[in-house]
Symmetry: C2
Subunit: 354 residues, 2 copies
């Protein structure tokens, strides 16, 4: 007789396989660090091949002392551990109206856990850099033909010097106390807390200081907000996370009994801290405060809840709205942009109580 197995667990939701793009199911978005296999996967290209045995991280450009570090060299620098939520700039793209092209991400292109690494500032302190330095370009091993282009390109992103030198911008080598997995950037991944995750370059190959504004395709073509359908007018770069919240339970269009329910979710922001999460049970007419514990750091999300006794049967339109310490708050309709980045309208689910 076959073994009796009743295990019920959620799976990553596939948005694409070549390259691999799979999102985290809502059940896994928890207060604690998420397991590696629960973490959303977002790739621009196929997984790269890299020579692990001879791996060295190269530093170049406008630095005073060129440097090449083995993993062992890197381990001699002082390291720090940060709990950071990474959110894909396209998270919730599928919610835009009108629709925008690209992976139709739901609410699960976000995950969090503990990243341990060396502040980039420590290494740039050692190399020194020219007074003409303006940006730091971080290049990965992943490459291929970018969608919308004909040529072979390598994934690369730059940071303004100030962000690159922020002591929480780290070159990470561990996730939750283990070496990074290949799928999440082994051996080294840049972690840029507070920015959308396109900045957190995986499989880091080379770091260069430049004196100009970097013009890579993933910075000047993709990961730009284009407010117009027709032209590129008014375009500006995707950088910091918007203030945002997600309702995990109940699910959209769920049927519920009339008993007590816990409305539950997460809220996060790229700057400052989450200071308030509100729930509306009447489609925005009135608002109620949800409960949450203040986060230990501003780079992780808060898990909030609101205990609800529906009372009478019927349809309910439930909204969530987060506010952060710099006064940003979610609005009803997301800022539409042609490539579908940074969706942060109030979350919205409809339920029927019988």
């Amino acid at each position: 007789m076959p073994e009796r197995k009743f295990t019920v667990k959620p799976s990553l939701t596939t948005r694409g396989l070549s390259p691999e793009n799979q999102e985290t199911p809502l059940e896994y978005l928890q207060t604690d660090a998420m397991n590696n296999y629960q973490f959303f996967r977002r790739n621009h290209f196929d997984y790269p091949s890299l020579n692990q045995a001879n791996y060295r991280l190269l530093f170049g450009g406008l630095i005073k002392r060129p440097l090449s570090l083995s993993l062992q060299d890197l381990s001699r620098f002082p390291a720090k551990t940060l709990k950071v939520a990474l959110e894909c700039a396209g998270n919730k793209r599928g919610h835009f109206e009108p629709k925008t092209y690209g992976e139709q991400w739901g609410k699960g292109a976000i995950s969090q856990g503990y990243w341990r690494g060396v502040p980039l500032a420590h290494i740039l302190d050692l190399t020194g850099f020219s007074s003409h330095a303006a940006e730091v370009v971080v290049k990965g091993y992943d490459h291929g033909v970018r969608k919308g282009s004909e040529k072979n390109e390598t994934y690369a992103r730059s940071l303004p010097l100030e962000k690159a030198l922020h002591l929480d911008t780290i070159i990470a080598f561990e996730y939750n106390g283990q070496p990074l997995s290949y799928k999440h950037g082994y051996p080294l991944r840049l972690i840029v807390p507070g920015w959308y995750a396109m900045a957190s370059v995986k499989w880091v190959r080379q770091i260069s200081v430049i004196g100009t504004s970097f013009k890579g395709a993933f910075q000047t073509n993709d990961y730009m907000y284009y407010p117009s359908q027709e032209t590129d007018e008014g375009a500006f770069p995707v950088t910091e996370l918007n203030v945002n919240s997600t309702i995990q339970t109940p699910l959209d269009m769920e049927v519920l009994d009339g008993s007590r329910h816990c409305i539950r979710g997460i809220a996060w922001t790229g700057k400052g801290m989450i200071t308030r999460v509100e729930i509306s049970l009447d489609n925005g007419e009135s608002w109620l405060d949800a409960d949450f514990h203040p986060p230990a750091s501003s780079y992780e999300w808060v898990s909030w809840q609101y205990v609800w006794n529906p009372g009478k049967s019927g349809e309910y339109s439930i909204l969530s709205r987060a506010t952060d310490s710099i006064g940003r708050t979610q609005v009803r309709k997301a800022f539409w942009n042609r490539k579908g980045y940074g969706y942060n309208a109030m979350d919205h689910v409809r339920v029927f109580v019988y």
Copy 2:
């Protein structure tokens, strides 16, 4: 160093966990039999516990010779193997406009493979039945509180005598040559080819012949088409599969290069055979025949394809439309019904060619 793993495979898409409802990703909908782990999971209740060692299938009601069969007893009857696609009645519910309550299934609440079992007719031939027999009720081991109700109910469905006695209505004990898995009804599952999968009762406990029309909740409350939002007027039962088709590639809102692409998908029907699958590349203005091999049986889907050279860049609205041998064809807008069953509008994806 960690082991190097670049395996990329799709996951089931979670729609709910309690009870477990997960759908098959489009990549797994293939011409061949699908593996057990690729098969969509649709449950009304938590997985049941059942006494495997003393398992017996009971026959009762208006039969002449009451019967109780062990699995070994059942294995002495002549068995047959059928390739059957099972489709949840709620497949594509998430596509209805306006939305309907319930699991928001995408296009993956359908799967197919080889089911082996004993025709129910053989057993009813042995028991005999009264001339007053009208329906055959099949009851599973799964039970619990049904959504929209307060009381504990057991999953049960009836078939009209004619369908119950059809030689392809089988009590299945194997899937793809292996004993059924627990999640898909071990040890015995009724398989009703041509009907939506709510008729294919899992974990079969008892089969009864009755002289009336069965009034179980999964037959008179759920699995009814309610054409009106407000009243139950005009309601009629969900039975046979509608003619239908699904585009697997490209994905909705995908960005494609201008090279040759294979538009690919499946088509199926509950009565007769698929005789034609057409593609429109201009949102329904003109239609082109897709290629497919005639299926070996009318219970499996056909896999179709159309090779497309987009030629010029821009937006394309792609439709698929299947027609069956009894003259049914897909229309542009699905028949809306309050509980969201039987969605079978033409499938529709939009792509951008650069």
